[in-house]
């Protein structure tokens, strides 16, 4: 068994490798929020940190630290070793001058150097996460300097593409060889529902625009009435009715895919001085390859080798799955050729994960607002008074107690720091692994009302 088994189920070996190779930069005084963040990151398997430590201790923090010796106490949490290099805060300018950081986390820091505050979008700086927590409130703000591309966004539910409306030869032959009229009620009950849907589509042929209701009606009026009158309670029939929409061509993802391709072309034109994050660079090349591939394949994306389980006999399901696997393999070979004509260095594993997730690709655009602007813009007060108060506390400005903000003064809540520490580390994980979708770009936690608000600012 692997120490990381429980999280490998969330992001797989490739994600875990990216985490264990990463280098995290932390800027700020030693607070419980900073300790909690580092602890969570060490636990997921990150071992390299550089900490620009400011010595300004915030009021009452010293007695409220869980780890009396953070660097020492982190060692048992990662047997590969944990290296936390401490640097004086005066060296913070190094962050914007090269540095191989994967992420920069700024926690409760008051004095941020101009280099970082004014960093322009053309610079090669890692994503910056800013954060602070007071009382039952906390915020995070993520500043991206280049677009963040995600292949495995891992949605809860994915509509499978069976290509029933545009079958390739092997699929068409397999389906056509199943002759419904020669099968008895028991054999009919053993057919996967996608066979029934394919047959319904064939029956409707040559009607040009088929809709969901027509498919459902065909299942009742043709399949049940004419082919299999005893099939009304069969589970495959039930599934066919329930999932009838998968028989329709899905145009929505094609539209958004074209938008992503267009967006990636813009990225390619703009990023003439190269990418900071090699992963993003690879996705851009893969999307370029995809646009070439789509043109020569009538707009059809690569077939996914895995089809979801469905009521069926083992034999027919196995055969049908093989048809999809064969085509997926064939498509992958062809797509890989296109990719390697553009760039030979992209790994087979990366190409395969891209192929399987074409419909899940997401991009988060760079943050236009500069960090200085985020910290000083008075208009933020209108958007979010809570955020504005949090920033005042962070900058150690005088905050007058009013009826609206009195809950900020109820004293420190260690759990709030722990919550925000969890949140920061989760965003770090998503950004480094390029899996799941990060917060874009500001989030406010209100523990009083159990409320989370996120918005783009």
């Amino acid at each position: 068994m692997n120490r990381y088994d429980r999280q490998l189920r969330l992001w797989g070996g490739a994600g875990q490798d990216l985490l264990s190779e990463s280098h995290i930069c932390v800027i700020g005084p030693e607070t419980c929020l900073l300790q909690e963040t580092i602890k969570n990151l060490v636990l997921v398997g990150i071992s390299k940190f550089t900490w620009f430590k400011s010595n300004i201790m915030q009021t009452s923090q010293e007695n409220n630290l869980f780890y009396k010796n953070l660097i020492q106490d982190m060692i048992p949490l990662n047997p590969r070793g944990v290296s936390i290099t401490q640097r004086p805060i005066s060296d913070m300018h190094e962050v914007t001058q090269g540095g191989d950081f994967s992420i920069i986390i700024v926690i409760s820091e008051t004095n941020i150097k101009d280099d970082l505050l004014n960093t322009s979008l053309s610079s090669m700086v890692a994503p910056v996460i800013m954060s602070h927590a007071v009382g039952l409130y906390g915020y995070i703000f993520t500043k991206l300097f280049e677009p963040h591309w995600i292949i495995e966004s891992r949605p809860d539910y994915e509509v499978p593409s069976f290509r029933l409306e545009s079958p390739w030869e092997e699929l068409r032959n397999y389906m056509d060889n199943i002759k419904l009229e020669t099968l008895n009620e028991y054999s009919l009950a053993e057919l996967p529902y996608i066979v029934l849907l394919y047959k319904a589509l064939q029956h409707l042929h040559p009607i040009a625009s088929v809709d969901n209701k027509m498919i459902k009606d065909t299942l009742t009026n043709w399949y049940i009435s004419e082919i299999n009158p005893k099939g009304k309670n069969d589970m495959n029939y039930d599934e066919a009715v329930r999932y009838s929409y998968v028989a329709l061509p899905n145009e929505t993802y094609k539209v958004s895919l074209q938008e992503l391709i267009k967006h990636s072309q813009q990225n390619r034109d703009e990023k003439t001085n190269g990418w900071r994050d090699g992963y993003n660079k690879q996705v851009i090349i893969l999307l370029h390859a995809l646009s070439v591939y789509l043109k020569s394949n009538g707009g059809d994306i690569m077939v996914n080798p895995d089809i979801p389980d469905m009521e069926s006999s083992s034999k027919i399901f196995g055969e049908l799955q093989q048809v999809y696997k064969n085509k997926a393999k064939y498509d992958l070979v062809n797509f890989s050729k296109v990719v390697h004509q553009l760039d030979e260095s992209i790994s087979a594993d990366m190409i395969s994960r891209f192929s399987r997730n074409v419909k899940n690709i997401k991009c988060i655009k760079p943050t236009t607002r500069s960090i200085r602007d985020f910290l000083t813009d008075p208009k933020l007060n209108e958007t979010s008074p809570v955020l504005s108060t949090l920033l005042k506390f962070q900058k150690q400005e005088q905050v007058e107690k009013t009826t609206d903000n009195k809950l900020f003064f109820i004293g420190e809540s260690y759990p709030t720091a722990s919550f925000i520490g969890g949140l920061i580390s989760q965003e770090v994980i998503k950004l480094i692994t390029h899996q799941y979708i990060p917060v874009n770009n500001t989030l406010i936690y209100d523990g009083m009302h159990n409320d989370i608000v996120s918005f783009e600012c």
Binding site: N2, N40, Y67, F419, Y436, N450, S454
Partner: protein, 313 residues
């Protein structure tokens, strides 16, 4: 904070909850867990390390706190046992119960106990029960105050229906994937219920059982032409133990949320109306897979709830 809190479970959530309560200076904390530490716990259960594998979770967690805070004026008490074997007299001692369990049965048990205590004492003793749970990048927190909010049982229908309960016909006659194959092996060939795990808890023996299940799974998968690319011991154990993914970040967030609920009740920050109802969002769900989304709402109690309706008559 002068009060006595019972923490249910010393796993991912339990370690976080215990740490938070210590940092809040709660005067007395009991923590109960019957399990021992395993390697796969160590990606989130930060009070344990490699040399603790095999030791009981509750005592090891308390030992960590006592070692790192030698002069802590907090009463700490670990319990290594099945919490469903303890009676009302035990639970009555506490002012709050915070749970970080992964099973349904013990939660229902505790929920019923606190309803009984509130009923028996005519609301002299009302123990708030705050329940957290996680699955991957998702989680929930439920706050239960017997007689004032919906109880745990009121929302039992909101639990996901056991989708894992595959029809026997599929498992026996039409297996189509590795899950179906393994389910067959552990129901028909080596029925899990009949395996004597406890009697011989030597690591080797457990490994042997898993190896046998794996071998039998390979054989059956071949018979039905099912792809065995992904089949290995970790896969088999995932199916057998119904393993749910878990990560430090979401654990910390949910545990923190339960503790903030505790702080709010303790400091009287939650409004109770004249009719005795709580004016607060007692249910929260959290999802960090796409941005970070939370939904908090007031879950209404079931008027015919078999557990808590008697409190209102």
């Amino acid at each position: 904070m002068n009060c006595s809190v019972l923490v249910l479970g010393a796993g991912g959530l339990g370690c976080e909850i215990l740490k938070n309560l210590v940092m809040c200076n709660v005067s007395s904390i009991d923590i109960i867990d019957m399990d021992t530490i395993e390697l796969t716990n160590l990606n989130r259960q930060f009070l344990f390390s490699d040399q603790d594998i095999g030791k009981p979770k509750a005592t090891t967690a308390i030992k960590y706190i006592k070692t790192h805070f030698p002069n802590l004026p907090i009463k700490l008490n670990p319990l290594v046992c099945d919490l469903t074997t303890l009676n009302n007299e035990f639970y009555e001692k506490f002012d709050f119960i915070i749970s970080g369990l992964d099973a349904i049965k013990p939660r229902r048990f505790v929920n019923e106990i606190i309803a009984q205590i509130a009923h028996k004492t005519s609301f002299e003793k009302v123990i708030p029960f705050i329940d957290g749970g996680t699955e991957g990048l998702k989680g929930h927190v439920k706050t239960i105050i017997p007689g004032f909010t919906a109880c745990w049982e009121c929302s039992i229908n909101t639990l996901p229906k056991g989708q894992d309960n595959l029809p026997m016909c599929t498992i026996i006659n039409n297996p189509r994937n590795l899950k179906h194959v393994i389910e067959y092996i552990i129901t028909i060939i080596y029925p899990l219920g009949s395996i004597k795990w406890e009697e011989d808890s030597i690591e080797d023996n457990t490994d042997k059982i898993y190896q046998n299940i794996l071998d039998a799974s390979f054989k059956r998968a071949k018979e039905f032409n099912i792809d065995t690319n992904e089949l290995n011991l970790a896969y088999v154990m995932g199916v057998i133990k119904r393993i749910i993914p878990s990560v430090s970040s979401m654990n910390a967030m949910i545990a923190a949320n339960t503790c903030n609920e505790f702080l709010k009740i303790y400091h009287d920050l939650i409004d109770v109306t004249d009719s005795g109802n709580i004016q607060a969002n007692n249910f929260t769900i959290l999802n960090g897979a796409d941005g970070c989304f939370s939904y908090s709402f007031q879950y209404e109690r079931l008027t015919d709830c078999p557990v808590c309706s008697k409190l209102y008559s």
